[in-house]
């Protein structure tokens, strides 16, 4: 099996109120240098070895997992995972 790890974040330039609040809390708690904090989503799943991961993941993200109006995504694939 292949293990797919998908990361979804708000696009650059889109205001991230959550990221901003987290950053302000960090700065107030002894991490004054923290900058450009973004809060995103992490989704993991397995797909069968024969799956065309690039195509499937792209379709899943475009259809449901990410909203292209405001979000972008990236993913990594680990091959040869035993079930």
């Amino acid at each position: 099996m292949k293990k797919v790890k998908i990361f979804i974040t708000l696009k650059e330039g889109v205001l991230d109120p959550q990221g901003k609040a987290v950053q302000e809390a960090l700065q107030a708690n002894g991490f004054p240098d923290v900058a450009e904090t973004r809060v995103g989503k992490y989704i993991e799943m397995t797909l069968p070895n024969e799956a065309d991961v690039a195509l499937e993941v792209q379709r899943m993200c475009d259809k449901l997992l990410a909203n292209p109006v405001m979000e972008e995504y990236s993913y990594t694939v680990e091959e040869g995972i035993r079930s």
Binding site: L10, D16, N67
Partner: protein
């Protein structure tokens, strides 16, 4: 006229919507569970507020890929009035029936209070009962009502005259103070404020009733002939 209020797991303003149509407007209305729904006989579709599917993934995202949305898209294409309020608006954005997306409120707070809306258009099937520039009091209740779209989309919305309601005092950070937009054809309206919660003075405002009356008026003009 026969209205359908679509009920998803997690909808929680469905009964308010039902009450607004049945008792406020005095027309026929059904609560329609999203699974195996048959919308063929309905003259208008109402997508109520709430937290469909617990807002998992994104508000409205999972409801937007349910089967009933295919029927709603077909009804929308055929010209049937479709009104999405709050979570219903989020669902319409997620399906692509309306452009844009919702972000968390700028101040991250869930807000539940009356807002003053400015009626930007009085020539839609949803707003003919108002006057352009009129200010109406309608309650909001949302944590993710910060309307977002890119510059190109905003320009299109303006050029096509799709902005129907704006906030007088923007509570959530929405671009261009947008509170409600309509599709190009004019029969799909999405808005974050809740007109269905403002249909009788006893509850604080009846400013929302004219929206339902407008839809009814439009339908009568279209389909009811008087001799």
């Amino acid at each position: 006229m026969k209205f359908a209020v679509i009920v998803f797991p997690g909808s929680n303003c469905d009964r308010d919507m039902y009450h607004a149509v049945r008792d406020g407007l005095g027309e026929e209305v059904d609560l329609v569970w999203y699974e195996n729904a048959n919308l063929a006989d309905y003259d208008a579709i109402l997508l109520p507020g709430g937290f469909s599917y617990g807002d998992y993934l994104r508000s409205g995202a999972i409801a937007s890929v349910s089967n009933v949305l295919n029927q709603i898209k077909m009804k929308a294409e055929a010209g049937t009035p479709v009104l999405g309020v709050c979570n219903g608006f989020q669902i319409l954005l997620e399906t692509g029936l309306l452009p844009g997306a919702m972000l968390r409120n700028e101040k991250l707070k869930f807000m539940c209070h009356y807002e003053t809306l400015v009626v930007e258009r009085d020539d839609t099937m949803f707003t003919s009962g108002y006057e352009k520039g009129q200010q109406i009091e309608i309650p909001i209740a949302h944590g993710e009502g910060n309307y977002y779209c890119d510059d190109v989309t905003l320009e299109e919305l303006k050029q096509n005259n799709q902005i129907v309601f704006t906030y007088k005092n923007n509570p959530n950070g929405s671009r261009a103070d947008i509170a409600g937009i309509v599709n190009k054809a004019g029969n799909v309206l999405g808005m974050m404020p809740h007109p269905e919660r403002a249909v009788e003075d006893l509850l604080g405002s009846s400013d929302g009733l004219a929206m339902f009356q407008s839809v009814l008026q439009h339908w009568r003009e279209m389909y009811v002939t008087t001799s």
